[in-house]
């Protein structure tokens, strides 16, 4: 290791940093690096496949002799399976296999815990016949008491969903409640409010599912997954196979958003069907199953207290939150600490509440959109209490130079000074009133150490990068091409990308916005290693030292000797072997500029005060994600996050009927997802920050942009109409009711 100095930060705040990278690492890119491809707009490498319909997603894999699987699920919120009669189903035409989702000997005592819980699966020779067969299974159920509502489940006499005496599972609170309450009591201004957010389903357009084909003594699997390797490991351990016996391919994935890790129950069932029938089986879930059984963002009930002193400095925060992730946990709200508050001024108590509904799964920034909805509205409330501009109040309490710069950028872009200074006091166009709101956020995602990469240079100049992780729509494959192109002085289209296959070098699951930050340094190093091998071969030919050689603009050359310059392809002819491969492990992160990323969003809305309809007119989203590898796809991530955040803010809601314990809107008609006509004008601004934590310095971007949107819209609604909406989704019924309460209060 040799100590090196890099300059980190961004235009508004930079510093020099001593780093100690391994000697195998390529020179680290820092704030002063002039890069040719990295950070530019690069169209995604798989674009042509996707726009022509050629891209084969898991759902599109058709194999000779393939069967179709379908799962039979509980129609009851809670029930004991008394008996199962599969005789008629097995006699149906085309039925080839049937497997249970639980130990068959447990029939008579097996408890199903939610409507959608798996019972068994059948494979038949057409999807229609698989459906017919599943419907022909006769099951006797003994329905049990159930509860699907958060508040009901917290009651003392609620039916117990899992085990124990209560459905409420509190985590250890952080902080001293009494001390924090005392600080709040001593604050010159304080607010106290209760917020609620709804259950959101991931609703990736490609449903969960797999195609499993017997392959020698193992299996070949196509999976719609965020984790090629977690599917491999899950299936191999479940079936007692070695990891090498399971090959998983996910060349194209129709969205994930956090719900697609591991093989899932459907993966295990599909594999068992394939092995029983000794034939390939495709098992893709239906839209309804997708809503019921494979994950969701838990709802929340958040009680927040926030105080400030007379100068506008925050004094204390207290947050007590509950949420239900159905039969699973994970309902913490993570009210994030984006403002300057000491630990002793903070009290947080989070509880999971079990209900008879499908288990939650991590969903794009788990806990954060909920927490920020409460936190950033509380900040707004306190700002108005203090008589301060909500932005000014945030600046007073935020010492993160990146977010401060972002607040300024965003405010300028949206025209913050043009908002109504008094909430609800803006110029009205008839019943239409406009307002603006802001919300800040943070995310982490510096990447982990678990990644390897191979970069191969062929004698004919072909360059191929091998990396096993999947591209769930983020543009990860394009990132691989860009990194290799940068290091070799080529264009991204010169690089062949081989990804999303468990036979390629290990890569992480796409979660926590870590894929690019984790993999990028390994790819960078592998490209560097491959380049060194090429240079070594050329050094012999040219009689120079490898260090004298450079690669840039499609050429390989010796800077001091213009006679020694070749186009890349020709230079590769110097290789003695058919190809050379650079392989690298991901280096560990060193200390960098900051360990987390910052972001903020501004929204402008128009509210029809008579109909309660909210239209979001504009959103300005400013986000840092360390070093931006591909500006084009980064902006897509941001605007996509905004649209999904808007959808969460205004429309989406998993609605359960309390008396039947079932979801009433398990479809795409009544589970409402924002469409083209709901899309505002979006300005995505990526703030490039050289963070110096590794040779690339990329940070994650997938999750952060979805976090602050709902809060920014809520604050904009308040600014427009002078009424605060404490509950998501902010639908017309809630707006109308809130305005009526305000009217009532005025006349009372």
């Amino acid at each position: 290791m040799t100590e090196k100095t890099v300059r980190v930060g961004f235009s508004g705040d930079s510093k020099e940093l001593k780093i100690n990278p391994p000697d195998t690492s390529p020179p680290a890119w820092d704030l002063d690096s002039k890069l040719a491809v990295v950070g530019t707009n690069v169209p995604r490498v798989d674009g042509p496949d996707k726009v022509t319909g050629r891209a084969k997603y898991t759902y599109d894999i058709n194999l000779p002799g393939m069967l179709y699987g379908r799962i039979l699920r509980s129609p009851h919120a809670a029930a004991i399976v008394k008996s199962v009669d599969t005789a008629a189903a097995m006699k149906m035409p085309g039925v080839k296999a049937l497997v249970f989702a639980f130990d068959e000997s447990k029939i008579g005592e097996k408890k199903l815990r939610y409507a959608g819980d798996e019972i068994l699966a059948i494979a038949a020779d057409s999807p229609e016949r698989a459906d017919d067969a599943v419907r022909a299974v006769k099951i006797e159920y003994d329905p049990q008491p159930f509860v699907v509502d958060l508040d009901d489940a917290m009651k003392a006499d609620a039916p117990i969903v899992n085990d124990g005496k209560s459905n409420v599972r509190g985590k250890n609170p952080r902080g001293d409640a009494a001390a924090v309450d005392a600080k709040l009591a001593g604050s010159s201004k304080k607010i106290e409010a209760t917020f609620r957010t709804q259950v959101q389903t991931h609703s990736a357009l490609e449903t969960h599912g797999l195609v499993v084909a017997p392959d020698g003594d193992g299996i070949k699997v196509w999976a719609s997954t965020q984790g090629v390797f977690s599917v491999r490991d899950g299936l191999s351990s479940n079936l007692g196979l070695k990891a090498e016996q399971v090959r998983v391919i996910s060349t194209f994935v129709g969205g994930g958003f956090g719900a697609k890790f591991g093989p899932g129950v459907e993966g295990v069932l599909c594999t068992k069907l394939a092995r029983q029938a000794n034939a390939p089986v495709k098992l893709m879930l239906t839209r309804k199953e997708e809503h019921l059984a494979v994950g969701n963002r838990p709802n929340s009930l958040q009680k927040v207290k926030l105080g400030a002193d007379s100068t506008g400095k925050l004094t204390a925060i207290s947050a007590t939150t509950f949420g239900t992730g159905g039969v699973g946990g994970g309902a913490g709200c993570t009210i994030p600490a984006i403002y300057n508050l000491n630990r002793d001024a903070t009290y947080k108590a989070e509880s999971d509440v079990f209900t008879n509904a499908g288990s939650s799964a991590a969903m794009r920034a788990p806990g954060h959109p909920q927490g920020i909805f409460a936190m950033e509205q509380s900040m707004d409330m306190l700002a108005y209490e203090l008589g301060l501009d909500p932005l000014e109040f945030r600046m007073l309490n935020d010492d993160n130079p990146v977010r401060r710069a972002q607040f300024n950028l965003g405010a300028k872009e949206i025209g913050w000074p043009n908002r109504p200074k008094v909430a609800g006091g803006g110029k009205a166009d008839g019943p239409l009133k406009r307002g603006m709101g802001v919300a800040g956020t943070l995310w982490y995602a510096g990447g982990g150490k678990d990644a390897k990469a191979d970069v191969e240079i062929g004698k004919g100049g072909e360059v191929t990068v091998y990396q096993g992780a999947q591209d769930i729509g983020t543009g990860f494959k394009t990132v691989l091409a860009i990194l290799v192109a940068e290091e070799l002085g080529l264009k991204p289209e010169d690089i062949t990308v081989r990804a999303a296959d468990s036979r390629f070098p290990y890569g992480p699951g796409s979660g926590g916005s870590t894929t690019t930050p984790t993999v990028a340094p390994a790819v960078h190093a592998a490209a560097y290693a491959a380049k060194r091998k090429l240079f070594e071969a050329l050094a012999t030919t040219w009689q120079v030292k490898p260090d004298d050689i450079s690669a840039k603009d499609g050429k390989v050359f010796v800077a001091s000797d213009p006679s020694k310059s070749l186009p890349f392809k020709k230079a590769c002819a110097a290789l003695t072997a058919d190809k050379v491969t650079g392989s690298a492990d991901r280096e560990a992160n060193y200390d960098g500029y900051r360990g987390n990323t910052a972001g903020c969003q501004f929204a402008e809305v128009e509210v029809d005060t008579e109909t309660g309809v909210v239209r979001v007119l504009r959103v300005v989203a400013v986000q840092d994600a360390g070093r931006i590898i591909n500006k084009l796809c980064s902006e897509s991530q941001i605007s996509g996050g905004v649209i999904q955040g808007l959808s969460y803010a205004l429309f989406e809601d998993r609605i359960m009927d309390k008396s039947a314990g079932k979801m009433v809107n398990a479809n795409f008609m009544e589970y409402k997802i924002a469409g083209p006509k709901d899309c505002p004008e979006i300005k995505s601004i990526v703030l490039d920050v050289a963070n110096g934590r590794n040779s690339v310095g990329a940070m994650g971007l997938g999750e952060a942009p979805v976090i602050p949107t709902a809060a920014a819209i809520a604050n904009a609604i308040y600014n427009a109409i002078g009424v605060r909406i404490f509950e998501l989704p902010m639908t017309p019924d809630k707006i109308i009711a809130a305005l009526a309460r305000k009217e009532g209060a005025k006349t009372a």
């Binding site: 995604r44 674009g47 042509p48 996707k50 726009v51 022509t52 319909g53 050629r54 084969k56 997603y57 759902y59 599109d60 058709n62 509980s74 129609p75 009851h76 057409s126 229609e128 599943v134 419907r135 299974v137 006769k138 099951i139 006797e140 159920y141 329905p143 609703s203 990736a204 357009l205 490609e206 449903t207 194209f252 994935v253 129709g254 969205g255 994930g256 839209r287 769930i472 729509g473 983020t474 543009g475 084009l632 796809c633 902006e635 897509s636 605007s639 996509g640 649209i643 999904q644 959808s647 479809n667 795409f668 008609m669 997802i673 924002a674 469409g675 083209p676 006509k677 899309c679 979006i682």
Partner: protein, 214 residues
């Protein structure tokens, strides 16, 4: 008015009404094939269709579909949707099955010049019609300008909605080559993108249309 007595709540063969209605002891899976709305299984002694009547198609039947300018012979049941015929029988998997109810547009194709959701069309009923799917837009390696613009403006992320949105765009620009932003929004409002690419799609359309009109 010929409101028949067969509108209602008579029990179905094999299932007591009580058991069915309470949903106790019987899962939804046990509801028999007669369906919930069909009323009772009718035992009316109706005359069988006259031999001179129209042909009744039953079971697997040979059909011919004209897709992207090419005729395809295949066998389907009457219940096979156009989407399933494309995807499962002809391996034309560009049109996606997403909501299965005509609500998301991912399966959109152009049939006799009209944009339709192929999950809500029966394959047998699509015979004799000119069907264009996403696979039919590019000629060889030459992309349709809409496809090229979608790539250029990154109007796609996971890409699963993309074929449907491109077909909807194709249908729009055919009748309205210079749409306003609002006309784009209206024309695409039958399509859902979960990744949130709409604004990039509008930019792509504006490029193809040679700038927006208003």
């Amino acid at each position: 008015m010929s409101d028949s007595s067969d509108d209602g709540a008579r029990p179905k063969s094999g299932v007591s009404r009580r058991g069915f209605l309470k949903g106790v002891g019987l899962g939804s899976v046990a509801i028999p094939a007669a369906g919930l709305l069909g009323g009772s299984v009718v035992l009316a002694e109706e005359a069988p269709p006259k031999p001179s009547g129209p042909k009744v198609f039953t079971g697997e039947i040979p059909i011919k579909l004209r897709i992207n300018g090419k005729d395809h012979d295949l066998k389907v049941e009457p219940r096979t949707t156009l989407l399933n015929a494309l995807r499962d029988r002809l391996d034309l998997t560009g049109s996606k099955l997403v909501c299965d109810r005509g609500t998301c547009g991912a399966c959109s194709v152009i049939m006799d010049g009209l944009l339709v959701t192929s999950c809500m069309v029966l394959a047998i009923d699509a015979q004799g019609k000119e069907i264009t799917t996403i696979e039919g837009l590019a000629s060889g390696d030459k992309l349709d300008p809409i496809q090229a613009a979608f790539i250029e403006f990154d109007a796609l992320q996971c890409g699963f909605c993309t074929p449907g949105l491109i077909m909807a765009t194709k249908s729009l620009l055919k009748t309205n080559p210079h749409p306003t932003r609002e006309e784009m929004q209206d024309a695409l409002s039958g399509n859902i993108c979960r990744c949130g690419t709409y604004d990039h799609i509008f930019a792509a359309i504006e490029k193809v249309a040679g700038g927006a009109r208003g």
